[in-house]
Amino acid sequence: MQLGIYYDQTRCVGCYTCVVACKDWHDVPAGPASWMRVHSIEAGSYPDLFAAYLIRPCYHCAQPACAAACPAEAIVKSAETGIVTVDPEACLGLEACGGACRESCPYAAPQFGAESEARMQKCDLCAERWAEGKKPICVEGCPMRALDAGPLKELVRKYGDNQEAAGFVRHPDLKPAIVFKKKMWNP
């Protein structure tokens, strides 16, 4: 089974609630590491403009480049849920290995804190919340109801299988577990 994420880009107002809710839930301090990031996208010139946001959690790829790149085999993909997780004990740390995982991921999902010998950390799709029957903290907190998560097949059934969004670069070889409602310029 593969759990995945749905993101309605047309609804996102860039409120950053998901980012802060995630930092609070997973106890990530202010600093360079953020398991959920929100990118701002702008195009055009005044006054003919396009503006949108794009969420950047980990997309929990079917073929995770980070796992392949890790010299310590610290990154694993769960067969049961498809969630990609890192074992911080096994991770060599940013200084020792140079962050091969981060280099390999086109979405920069692997994150490192500011501390010395920082170990990789990243979105785990709130693995422990699923066990309690809850969806990820970002999904349940989104004030615009722009997010959903669940078995990828169900998401595709519910929302379609569009894998394009403004600002998103597709990497079909990695098979990121996300479907979008894309925001169009002049829809």
Partner: protein, 729 residues
């Protein structure tokens, strides 16, 4: 219930209530007396989902700049050197100072400065208001910084501030005009952006009028109309001119429900003053092409129902009252008042706090006490919450402190009691306020944080946050109330505000401050509001007031005018106001009138300061609250936004440090070059904390270093009528 003694993690729903314009559900996880983390509303939809500020609760409660103990100043004012003292010493000192000033001077010499703090029933500024009133009276600041123009216009035109529909009624609109209204950037009712998204998805056309391509414009609007700040009234008048010219107005509505349309029409058509307020005339003033104005006028007049959501930011200008009066007039001309999917186009209170007649006010659990020295003031319209003696418009308080009786003010001010107000930061002309604070004999500040204002206090009284005491919170935008249980002990020696007032009352010999127990005031409010099960309300953290349909303001007045007149002197919507005519003040004319602002783009001052500053709300702050929270601060660094054209003209690039200045002050902050800003306009998010360096240059990016401390004739705070220049630092 003593949660703090439960060893394992418990989860309790409560309502987040900082002064943001929302109020949302938080489900707080508490472990061994400490907040561990938060979720939001876990009940079925419609949920009250919290924003990033609510989600940062833990960093706010355990902030390193939280004031944990009563403090006494040991260094010069503003420097921030304090020492810890006991509550007894702090309260004795404050009570002693109040007694001293009362005995030696007039009661007017005590000046009470307050801001809302938490939007709650019991623990807010109403406590000290009652205390000072029972003690013999006081001077206070007059005016509501956010929407004084909206209140003024609502009272004069509709006779009330109960002018808003609940936000779910947006789903009934076929056209929504977001006029200077950005609910995605500013909390203006929990879930408001969600309703807008759903309205859009169901086919409602949404148009944004705004000098900034805001997140609301970018997300919801099919059309964005950039307009020069401070010229809103001119565009609204031109829309009226188009409607009259093409006979599109709802004449039977105007005949039945309004007075004075003919005089307004005579002004708009030019019959009265020889100047027709045509779209071509407005194009020169506003920068909006005439055909765009014409099209919007026709749309608003013919697509029904249509909601003109007239935001309060355009009212925060010189003559902002005229903008609100003009918007209301257009709502009447199009017959959109009192119907589902329409809107009265009046923005004032939009909460259970008073925006809907659901009967609960901020501070409702604090018994009202009349200020014995308060009386009507000559030269101001006789309206509720109008200006009264001896109060001073908030923007003029610093001037009053500095000049006193010699400057024509009612007193020489000796004691300043500041409650939940970052006054120095939030009111125009911070540098002048700093000078005024330095000159005061005694300042006491009730606060949670070491704010820019608290640094000037002689005594700081540390207050509890909403998770540290019992209270009830007010819904905004929708009809609900929240219950806030005490989840943790206040950190250090912080105290709930109502306890501080009771202890001061005891020291001042005021026996009847409130003899009831701590919970009775809340139970009494719950009874008044017909909340059937107080305990269930407490457990759930929220009570929804049941309704069969969205609330629509003035429905009765429209459906049954014979039995339900408008609460104005004429019983009608007063497009022409006799109360204003009686003032005989050309700057407060009886019909909505375009009056060019001071510091407009045409002002000679614009040769030195050519940019019009708009001080928008910051997404990550609630006014001045939350500025120092690390999780929030890192997401959106304080910066001044300039258009690409204006940045190029000044040779600055995105991220450069720039000096922003005018005659009132200067700051050095980074510039954000943005294609979303109208050329000629600079956007600075308000609320960043004032931090002047040794040379008096603000390094914090406090917008009020630049704003002008002069109120509009109707009391509007002119935060958005400011000329500045920007140069590379």
């Amino acid at each position: 219930m003593p949660f703090q003694k439960i060893a394992e993690e418990v989860t309790i729903p409560t309502m987040c209530s900082p002064h943001c314009g929302g109020n949302c559900l938080l489900t707080v996880h508490v472990e061994q007396g400490r907040i561990k983390r938060v979720e939001t509303d876990l009940a079925p939809e419609p949920q009250l989902r919290a924003c990033m500020r609510g989600r940062a609760l833990r960093q706010r409660v355990y902030a390193p700049d939280r004031v944990l103990y009563p403090l006494k100043r040991t260094g010069p004012r503003g420097e921030g050197r304090f020492e810890r003292i006991s509550w007894d010493e702090a309260l004795d000192t404050v009570a002693g100072q109040i007694k001293r000033v009362r005995e030696k001077f007039d009661p007017e010499a005590i000046l009470f400065i307050h801001s809302p703090g938490d939007q709650v029933c019991l623990n807010n500024n109403a406590t000290i208001g009652r205390l000072l009133a029972l003690g013999g009276g006081y001077s206070a600041r007059f005016g509501t910084p956010s929407f004084q123009a909206g209140m003024f216009a609502s009272y004069l035109t509709y006779g009330t501030v109960y002018c808003s529909n609940t936000r779910d009624d947006l789903l009934n609109a076929r056209l929504i005009i977001m006029w200077g209204w950005d609910p995605a950037g500013t909390q203006t009712g929990t879930n408001t952006p969600w309703f807008l998204a759903r309205a859009k998805e169901s086919g409602t056309r949404i148009v944004a009028v705004d000098p900034l391509y805001s997140d609301s414009a970018a997300t919801f609007a099919e059309q964005w109309i950039p307009m020069r700040p401070g010229t809103d009234t001119a565009m609204l008048l031109a829309m009226a001119q188009v409607m009259i010219r093409e006979n599109l107005q709802d004449q039977s509505f105007l005949d039945t429900y309004t007075v004075g349309f003919d005089r307004f029409a005579a002004y708009v058509t030019g019959e009265a003053d020889g100047v027709a307020k045509t779209p071509a005339w407005a194009e020169d003033v506003t920068g909006v092409p005439a055909p765009v104005i014409e099209q919007l006028a026709r749309e608003y007049a013919t697509v029904k129902p249509a909601a003109l959501m007239a935001g309060i930011a355009p009212g925060r200008t010189a003559f902002g009252e005229q903008y609100h009066r003009a918007a209301i007039t257009l709502a009447a001309m199009t017959g959109n008042v009192g119907i589902h999917g329409g809107d009265a186009a009046a923005r004032a209170w939009e909460s259970t706090l008073g925006g809907y007649p659901f009967g609960m006010g901020s501070g409702a659990a604090v018994p009202k006490a009349k200020n014995p020295i308060e009386k009507p003031k000559a030269g101001t319209p006789d309206i509720p919450r109008g200006e009264k003696y001896p109060h001073i418009h908030f923007t003029r308080v610093a001037d009053a402190i500095l000049k006193g009786k010699k400057g024509g003010y009612p007193a020489d001010y000796k004691l300043l009691f500041v409650v939940s107000s970052n006054y120095l930061n939030s009111i125009p002309n911070s540098n002048k306020i700093a000078a005024a604070l330095k000159s005061m004999e005694f300042i006491v500040v009730e606060e949670q944080y070491m704010t820019a204002t608290a640094r000037y206090a002689d005594i700081i009284l540390p207050t509890a946050y909403f998770v540290e005491r019992d209270d009830m919170a007010l819904g905004v935008g929708m009809p609900y109330l929240g219950f806030q249980r005490k989840l943790i002990e206040p950190p250090g020696e912080c105290k709930p505000q109502n306890e501080i007032a009771r202890e001061l009352a005891a020291r001042l010999g005021i026996a009847d401050y409130d003899t009831r127990g701590p919970e009775e005031p809340l139970r009494e409010v719950a009874r008044r509001l017909n909340i059937p099960d107080y305990e269930a309300f407490k457990q759930k953290g929220v009570h929804w007031i049941e309704r069969s349909a969205p609330h629509v303001a003035f429905k009765q007045q429209i459906q049954d005018p014979a039995n339900h007149p408008f609460p104005t002197p004429s019983g009608k919507i007063e497009i022409y106001s006799q109360r204003l005519a009686d003032l005989n003040n050309p700057l407060l004319p009886p019909i909505p009138t375009y009056i060019e602002t001071w510091e407009s783009a045409n002002d000679p001052l614009a040769s030195r300061y050519p940019l019009q500053l708009v001080t928008k709300h910051a997404k990550r702050r609630a006014n001045a609250q939350f500025d120092t929270i690390p999780w929030l601060k890192e997401l959106i660094p304080q910066a001044i936004e300039l258009s690409v054209a204006d940045a190029r003209k000044r040779g600055v690039e995105d991220g450069d440090a720039v000096r922003v200045f005018n005659d009132r002050g200067q700051m050095v902050i980074p510039v954000k070059v943005s294609r979303r800003v109208m050329p000629g306009v600079a956007i600075l998010p308000a609320g960043a904390w004032y931090a002047p360096d040794a040379k008096g240059v603000d390094r914090g990016g406090c917008a009020n270093v630049l704003t002008r401390d002069e109120p509009s004739p109707g009391g509007a705070f002119a935060y958005n009528t400011v000329l500045v220049e920007v140069e590379k630092a």
